[in-house]
């Protein structure tokens, strides 16, 4: 089996939750694998991050570069091409950084690429047996990935359960092999999201609407229900894309992370990007007119109904009570 690598995300000196998930995923490819963690970043504080990674990984490659004061994917790709062996299997967490970095990396390494992998059934020789999803999670697919000339895989965050490990690994300094870091794309700055009129991250009860609401004029049914319940209104991404609600109300990986006690998902299909913004294990009620909507797999309680009829009925009953 080829050498396995895990690209470690870190911020403010802390490992991302995905860091040890990648380790768990590597073990699903090969139970006996000792994957190598790659920790790249600006020199300041990087040793500390490497040591944290070494708690789980038996070997950690440290790549310190002033060019990585901000974790830029274009620069990181150049560095990885220089330090990785051609036939390695590289694991990354499937989020915005890997979406920027990984497809191009697979081309530069001339290796196979599989994105947003949700399960790994093992390896058959050089063939990786993977599971992906399609159509917003409505169906899954078994996928064969020919890793004979290496592979780059991005793994869905949160699905590979990190285990407690104590590897006491060693850190190898690869900074000298990083090579030229000049790129034609230059990072300027981060522009922070504007705060909205409500802070849904503090809400205990959320009535959340998705594309199932169909029309801007129908948004009212959610606000009416929320008022009756004493809840706040949040939404899925298409509602913000359509400019029906402010970005500050969007729940999900590219929106807010909420921690309510109760979450009513109304006309929301249950994409992983949406569910990724719901933390703290709330009581989730899903109302959807499609009995097969993926949200019913993750909700606690499900109701098959048209929200445009059901929500006003529910509002009325709560107001009566």
């Amino acid at each position: 089996m080829a050498q396995l690598f895990a690209y470690i995300l870190h911020k403010d000196g802390e490992l991302d939750d995905s860091a040890m998930e990648l380790l768990a995923a590597a073990k699903k490819i090969d139970a006996g694998a000792n994957p190598t963690a790659i920790v790249a970043g600006a020199p300041d504080g990087l040793d500390d991050v490497c040591n944290k990674a070494a708690a789980g990984y038996s070997e950690v490659w440290k790549v310190a570069s002033d060019a990585l004061a901000y974790p830029d994917a274009e620069i990181t790709r150049k560095i990885l091409v220089n330090i990785l062996p051609a036939d390695g299997i590289v694991l990354l967490s499937h989020e915005h950084f890997a979406m920027d970095l990984a497809p191009g990396l697979s081309v530069k390494l001339d290796s196979a690429f599989a994105a947003d992998v949700v399960d790994i059934e093992g390896a058959d020789g050089d063939t990786l047996k993977l599971v992906r999803q399609a159509y917003g999670g409505a169906v899954s697919a078994h996928v064969d990935c020919d890793a004979s000339a290496g592979a780059v895989l991005t793994l869905r965050p949160g699905v590979f359960a990190a285990e407690d490990v104590s590897a006491g690994g060693t850190v190898v300094d690869k900074s000298g092999e990083a090579g030229d870091t000049a790129t034609a794309r230059k990072f300027i700055e981060i522009v922070e999201a504007e705060a909205g009129d409500v802070d849904i991250t503090k809400s205990e009860v959320l009535v959340s609407v998705g594309r199932g609401v169909e029309d801007e004029d129908n948004i009212e049914v959610a606000f009416d229900l929320a008022k009756a319940m004493g809840a706040d209104v949040s939404c899925s991404r298409p509602i913000v894309d359509a400019k029906w609600m402010a970005k500050a109300r969007q729940v999900g990986t590219s929106g807010q992370t909420v921690k309510p006690k109760v979450y009513l998902a109304c006309g929301i299909s249950g994409s992983f990007q949406h569910m990724g913004g719901i933390k703290g294990n709330p009581f989730i009620v899903a109302i959807n007119k499609n009995a097969k909507a993926p949200i019913f797999q993750v909700a606690d309680v499900g109701i098959v109904a048209d929200i445009l009829e059901f929500l006003p009925d529910l509002t009325e009953k709560i107001e009566e009570a």
Binding site: P103, I188, V205, N290, D300
Partner: protein, 259 residues
């Protein structure tokens, strides 16, 4: 500014419930309604807005079968000047890498300053744009939700976590993958479609593009579609609406969902 936008014809998940077929190895394809990948409409709209300001033209391209022509026409009805269909039996079963290889061959036959793709399509892989950029050896930015053109440079915003935006300056040419919400794609009516109904759309095959089957041979192969066993799932509330609401209100009270 010459802009190429890569688009894809996909089953429309807002028009269909995607389900398994009776054999349980593929999705049910009878009666599927297809449309343009959601993200691609935003990419085409953005290209049109850039050309409105900076001049130039917009070409839309897709890899697919004859039926994919309809999505090119739809994007031309939005205002794209030209469509190119890349179609060949040899392209069937291509993986993301193969699609990017085919698109690269088409890009090489033109002269584009900017190439846009949707951030992702129906398989959620978000891969073709980044691969294409790497093959062309030009800069790439994914999940772009803002573009400002200033001469031969552009400033782009990438959407990252929490609704924050990562700003970059990029020298042209480059490839960008476009995220939903960057603009409000214009509406296309029947009249718009009719107007472009008879416009000639050139079709290029493997030979025209100088590709052989080996160039697009897939390393990543989908074997089936299936429904995984997801365990229990939600407790479904059944009965008439009044009963359901009564049960739900009780549960909400118990969980602190009512004030």
């Amino acid at each position: 500014m010459e802009i190429l936008v890569c688009v894809k014809r996909v089953p429309d998940t807002s028009e269909n419930e995607i389900e398994l077929n009776s054999a349980g190895n593929d999705i049910e394809r009878d009666d599927l309604v297809y449309s343009v990948n959601e993200w691609d409409n935003y990419a085409v709209e953005e290209a049109l807005q850039i050309v409105d300001k900076a001049g130039g033209s917009v070409t839309v391209v897709t890899v697919g079968d004859d039926e994919s022509e309809e999505v090119l026409r739809r994007e031309m009805a939005m205002g794209a000047d030209k469509g190119i269909l890349l179609s060949d039996d040899a392209f069937e079963g291509a993986d993301g890498r193969g699609i990017a290889t085919i698109l690269k061959a088409a890009v090489d036959q033109g002269s584009y300053d900017l190439i846009l793709t949707g951030a992702q399509a129906d398989d959620g892989a978000a891969q073709v744009g980044g691969m294409l950029a790497a093959m062309l050896d030009v800069p790439y930015a994914s999940l772009v939700n803002k573009i400002d053109v200033n001469g031969d440079k552009i400033t782009v915003g990438r959407e990252i976590e929490g609704g924050n935006q990562e700003m970059h300056e990029i020298a042209l040419p480059c490839v960008l993958s476009i995220q939903t919400g960057i603009n409000e794609p214009r509406y296309v009516g029947i009249r718009g479609i009719r107007k472009v109904a008879s416009v000639e759309i050139p079709t290029l095959g493997a030979g025209d593009l100088g590709l052989d089957a080996g160039a697009v041979a897939a390393k990543v192969k989908r074997l089936d579609y299936f429904l995984p066993d997801m365990g229990e799932g939600a407790e479904m509330l059944e009965g008439d609406t009044d009963e359901i609401i009564e049960k739900l209100i009780e549960m909400l009270k118990a969980k602190g969902g009512l004030k």
